[in-house]
């Protein structure tokens, strides 16, 4: 029996090795937002305001939408989809495209923040993760978790990365783990990005560098972080949740 198990393990490992050589594919994520958990996590607002919000809106359903990450050996591109499920009403999708040149380790992220369109043209910056010890399945793959404290947005982020798929891929700008990031959980469910399915293609997919309006600001990662940091500082003084103005 034990021998059989070992054979099975080796077989899995072999399959995994094959997977890691796949050149092109697409990860479909579901992004869910729990506004109550978001508000409750804002520690600079008064406790009674947060408690009342939770009391009033604790039964509200989560809001979710889809996003995709398309990759080949040279690049990957992550963006959100508006599938227009609400009858008769549509909101504008705010520009948010993460584009990474994997060959040259460069980012070309197009993000609208605070009324301006920013293009982050820089070398790729990864988070400094602390590796945790738990295992679970996401989109059919066994993942391990890691933790990162986002000191700018004051968020606790837990990532689940695939143990059998070692590639530098992740949703939004999350990167830097020894496996593809298949789930991101911010502040214990306030926002969750979970992979629902993974597709592989035999042919190399063409991944286009994002096009954008001419009127934009070309910035480095540090410059963009400063915009966010300054805005959150002001929101703190105003006792207003920062995510009314910028992405969570």
């Amino acid at each position: 029996m034990k021998k059989a198990l070992s054979v099975l393990i080796i077989a899995i490992s072999f399959v995994s090795t094959c997977f890691s050589q796949t050149t092109s594919g697409k990860i479909n994520y579901k992004v869910s937002h729990n506004w109550v958990k978001k508000i409750v996590a804002v520690d600079y607002m008064s406790k009674s305001t947060r408690e009342k919000y939770e009391y009033m809106w604790g039964q509200t359903d989560e809001y979710d939408h889809k996003s995709t990450l398309v990759f080949n050996t040279k690049a990957y591109r992550y963006e959100e989809q508006d599938d227009n499920v609400h009858p008769g009403w549509s909101s504008r999708t705010v520009e948010y495209i993460i584009y990474r040149d994997r060959e040259n380790n460069k980012s070309y992220d197009v993000i609208r923040t605070l009324n301006d369109l920013y293009v982050i043209d820089d070398t790729i910056v990864s988070q400094k993760w602390k590796i945790l010890n738990d295992m679970k399945e996401v989109a059919g793959r066994i993942c391990m978790n890691a933790y990162w404290y986002d000191s700018i947005k004051m968020n606790e982020v837990v990532a689940w990365f695939a143990l059998d798929w070692n590639e530098k891929l992740g949703p939004e700008d999350y990167l830097g783990l020894p496996g593809v990031i298949l789930e991101i959980d911010i502040n214990n469910g306030a926002k969750k990005i979970t992979a629902e399915s993974i597709e592989f293609f035999n042919d190399e997919q063409i991944i286009e560098k994002p096009e954008h309006k001419k009127r934009h600001k070309n910035v480095s990662y540090a410059e963009y972080s400063k915009v966010i940091t300054d805005y959150i500082k002001e929101c703190k003084q105003e006792e207003r949740p920062y995510f009314w103005g910028i992405r969570y």
Partner: protein
């Protein structure tokens, strides 16, 4: 000697130091418990102090891996693999450049855990050293199950008939709850008594024996124990507030609320009583009382565009602050909410009572085509109102595609009113014409019941949906009134006329309505909404008027029995475009309003036709557009064509008699009013600077509106007698523009807010059969500054002005200007950790050139409050209201063919001491802004 020792030590340490290379190479091989090599394992190098990931690699086909030329600073080596338990090894600072760790053995994860827990239950495995735990919440047990039932479901755990627990072939002899012993040592005492719903994690591990813990030597007698972790989010709690206040001028107030909640229900109580002109509850208190159901009471069952056909709102908010006279108020109620994944239920009861007493003085100038006259009114009024309101709502989600809502609301109310009015009429040269004294008293009882049923189905195809609603709206009222009217004429002869009447009025209204709606999407951007609305409103009114001075004989001209019906059918459709922030809706509906009225003198006499069945057919177009631009700007525009039928009171062929100088007649020839409404606007929000600008425009163009035309004649020996009659009049319009903006001057410290409005209107009315057009041009503006000095001091100042320029076509010499302006300054200062000083000063000025009226009112309020107790549970507040004792109710208006102002005394200077208690404690911060 000491020096020698020190030198030796230094030398030794240098030697040691020199033996530690700066950079090292690490290598090892990963094997399983059977000695087989483990390829493609993830090998991570972590910082030894905080587990931060420094570097990683994977093991090769021989299970071997290595890190080359890394800093010799000590690490944790972590190896993980999909099929093995993660393992950690410490790598200390080492003395040789190449460090081979040999074979590192990893243990496979039990197959049952892999298959059942991870793959089937999709539950994470929490791994601690060599033990695993799983998320108990993902192993569903029926409500009310015990922990024992839960354990039977967990893979790898067995529970026998006596409640003995075994796992991996070993008995579990101890069960802890959150790491603590619970009811002694018997495990089943816990597992049989504790509710499974309270548990979040189940963890099984080896507990070292007492001896091993003391000596550190493994005596091989480990014992398997189980720890049950309780859910930290098993939310339940309560909060509440109570306050009591007493002051000068015999003022007092009391208020209390208590809310209790858990994961599935909320129960709230609210009560208040005061004699401080504060009736009802405000929005904050209302939402706290209604809890999660506060925002769910807005369905009216009317689908399609445009306004609904009568939604009976039974909200308990309202009235809130009377600024006229003096009131005593009492109210209280209970609310209960229950919710789970499929069900939302709400039930509430509320009682409200208020007594209002006021005195009032009004000066009015009325002008006719060739003359004008004055009227001075002195009124004292007493009102009593009470109501019992019961409301309930039940929402059930059969599945994600089907939802039904049932709502039942009912209200029983009583009110009484006593009004004593003394009027003096004067010519425009201030000569007394007559006096008119009116004593009026009324009692009224009413009930209403509103039942709504609503069903919604979402089809498999996205955005395709069907909805159906049915509503029954029933109400009934009964009133008894008496009128005693004495008119004394002074001008030539002295004549006195007295009228004393007794009214008995009964009315009922039953409205049954239903709507259907179907939405069909075409592609991703377009959809077609089709709808049908039906309503049948039947109203019944019986008016009986008796002349008390003529042996209570019935007055036929003021008595009437009337049955009125309004049948409404509307069929419509609209095409909607919705994509990327651009939403356009265009449509139209064909509607028929059928009116019919039968009357008789009394309910027992023969019915006659008052209004033969008349159908009014119209095509009603509709348009709306809303566009969200990328830079946080939104622009919108709407157009609608509104058709409203006349009310029963207007159509009923009987007069309504207010006093011997004023009566309103009915008109059976009225047709529905028709008007066009257009509005457009833009809203801009600069997120970066917190700047808001909002601009809106609108126009209302009447094709035909129902206007109360007046005929006033001078009757010798009585005075000016006015008869008013509703009639259809063509024309009339209004245009408006409104601006509102908030601009930070110094971010987070000083902000400027500005608003302005203009309105131009033209309203036609016939006075003694001559058309008079009242043109009113109104302008208003406000400018304010908000200053925050640190978190402790907040100051605001603002100034407002409003003016109306009124022109009459009937008599241009009556044209006039009304002017009001006011300014206000306020502050909030947290002068000590728990102490606050607050104050505000308002100065208002009212002017009317026609009535020679100028008034200045200055109001000054100051209060100081202190939080007390460890958790700030108590608050004591001393407040002075209207220190200058000038508060008064004032109102000015110029319209139709008159202009008037009204003043009424109200609650002025008083001092008050209040004590409040908050179960959760009051906030300490000087909460300057609550709007976000």
């Amino acid at each position: 000697m000491k020096l020698l020792n020190l030198a030796l030590l230094l030398l030794l340490s240098l030697t040691v130091f020199s033996q530690q290379p700066r950079n090292i190479n690490i290598s090892a091989r990963v094997v399983d418990t059977l000695g087989e090599t483990v390829p493609v394992a993830t090998v991570m190098l972590l910082n030894s102090s905080d587990s931060t990931l420094i570097n990683y690699t994977t093991s090769d086909s021989n299970g071997e891996f290595g890190f080359k030329n890394i800093k010799n600073s000590g690490y944790i080596l972590k190896i993980s693999h999909v099929s093995y338990m993660p393992i950690q090894r410490d790598i200390p600072v080492i003395n040789q450049a190449d460090y081979n760790m040999g074979d590192i053995v990893v243990a496979p994860i039990a197959e049952i855990l892999m298959e059942v827990v991870i793959k089937s239950a999709k539950a994470p495995l929490f791994i601690h050293g060599d033990t695993v735990e799983y998320d108990a919440r993902l192993f569903k047990v029926p409500p009310g199950s015990t922990v024992e039932d839960l354990l039977r479901r967990l893979p790898g755990v067995e529970v026998d008939a006596d409640g003995n627990i075994t796992t991996m072939g070993k008995n579990i002899n101890r069960v802890y709850v959150d790491g603590k012993t619970f009811f002694g040592d018997d495990p089943s005492s816990v597992t049989k008594n504790l509710d499974a719903e309270a548990i979040s994690k189940v963890k099984v591990y080896d507990e070292k024996s007492e001896q091993e813990r003391l000596t550190g030597i493994d005596d091989g007698s480990d014992e398997k124990v189980m720890n049950l972790e309780l859910k930290d989010d098993f939310k339940k709690g309560h909060f509440g507030k109570a306050s009591i206040a007493g002051g000068t001028e015999q003022r007092w107030a009391a208020r209390g609320s208590f809310n209790r909640f858990n994961e599935i229900s909320q129960l709230s109580f609210l009560g208040f009583a005061n004699n401080m002109n504060n009736s009802g509850v405000n929005w904050d208190e209302y939402t706290e009382f209604k809890g999660s159901s506060a925002y769910s009471d807005f369905d009216n069952g009317d689908f399609g565009f445009g306004s609904g056909r009568g939604h009976r709102s039974l909200s308990m908010i309202g009235g809130n602050y009377s600024n006229k006279g003096f009131t005593k108020n009492y109210g209280g109620g209970v609310n209960y909410n229950y919710f789970n994944k499929k069900t939302k239920f709400n039930a509430s009861y509320f009682y409200n009572q208020s007594d209002l007493t006021y005195d009032q003085f009004t000066k009015r100038q009325t002008f006719l085509n060739d003359t004008s006259y004055f009227r001075y009114d002195t009124t004292d009024n007493y009102q009593f109102n009470n109501s019992h309101t019961v409301s309930s709502r039940f929402e059930y989600e059969f599945d994600s595609a089907n939802t039904a809502i049932i709502r039942v609301n009912a209200r029983l109310s009583e009110n009484s009113n006593t009004n004593n009015q003394f009027q003096i009429y004067q010519t425009n040269s201030s000569v007394d014409i007559n006096s008119n004294t009116v004593y009026y008293s009324a009692t009224n009882e009413a009930y209403s019941v509103n039942v709504l049923g609503l069903y919604n189905h979402k089809f498999k195809k996205k955005r395709r949906s069907f909805s159906f609603s049915a509503v029954a709206d029933l109400s009934d009222n009964n009133s008894d009134n008496t009128l005693d009217n004495i008119n004394e004429y002074f001008l030539t002869t002295n004549e006195v006329e007295r009228i004393k009447l007794l009214y008995d009025n009964q009315g009922s209204q039953n409205n049954f309505k239903s709507s259907l709606m179907y939405v069909e999407p075409f592609g991703k951007r377009l959809s077609l909404m089709t709808f049908y609305n039906f309503s049948n409103k039947i109203q019944e009114s019986a008016k009986l008027t008796k002349d008390v001075l003529a042996n209570n004989s019935m007055i036929d001209s003021l008595s009437n029995y009337y049955i009125h019906s309004v049948l409404y059918n509307r069929l419509g459709a609209s095409l909607n475009y919705a994509w990327e922030g651009l939403n356009i809706s265009m449509g139209g509906a064909y509607q028929i309003i059928g009116l019919k009225g039968d009357y008789a003198l009394t309910q027992r006499t023969e019915l006659r036709i008052g209004l033969p069945q008349k159908d009014y057919m119209n095509f009603v177009p509709y348009f709306s557009a809303n566009w969200e631009l990328p830079n946080n700007m939104r622009i919108y525009g709407t157009y609608s064509y509104n058709i409203n039928e006349p009310s029963m009171t207007q159509l009923q062929p009987v007069s309504s008699f207010s006093n011997s100088l004023y009566r309103i007649e009915g008109n059976t020839n009225l047709v529905p009013e028709r008007s066009h409404s257009i509005s457009a606007g833009a809203y801009y929000w600069d997120r970066a600077s917190f700047t808001n600008v909002s601009l809106s425009f609108g126009a209302n163009l009447n094709e035909n509106s129902i206007v109360y035309n007046k005929s006033t004649e001078f009757v010798d020996s009585i005075g000016y007698v006015t008869v008013s009659k509703p009639e259809n009049v063509e024309g009339g319009n209004s245009y408006y523009a409104y601006l509102w903006s908030n601009v930070p001057i110094i971010k987070t410290i000083l902000s400027l807010n500005v608003s302005g409005n203009v309105r131009f209107s033209e309203n036609p009315v016939y006075i003694n059969s001559i058309k008079n057009i009242t043109k009113t041009d109104s302008y208003g503006g406000r400018i304010g500054l908000d200053l925050n000095i640190g978190a402790k001091l907040n100051i605001n100042i603002d100034g407002r002005v409003s003016t109306s320029n009124v022109k009459y076509s009937l008599q241009t010499n009556q044209n006039q200007v009304i002017l009001n302006y006011s300014s206000e300054a306020g502050f909030k200062w947290q002068f000590a950790k728990k102490s606050y000083l607050e104050g505000n000063f308002t100065w208002s000025n009212y002017q009317s050139d026609r009535l020679d009226y100028v008034a200045d009112i200055m109001l000054l309020n100051v209060s100081i409050r202190q939080l007390i107790g460890k958790n700030n549970r108590f608050e004591v507040r001393l407040a002075a209201f209207d220190l200058l004792n000038q508060k008064e109710y004032l109102y000015q208006v110029a319209t139709e063919n008159y202009t008037e102002y009204t003043s009424s005394p109200t609650l002025a200077r008083y001092f008050m001491l209040s004590v409040s208690y908050n179960l959760k404690g009051f906030e300490e911060s000087n909460n300057k802004r609550r709007r976000w």
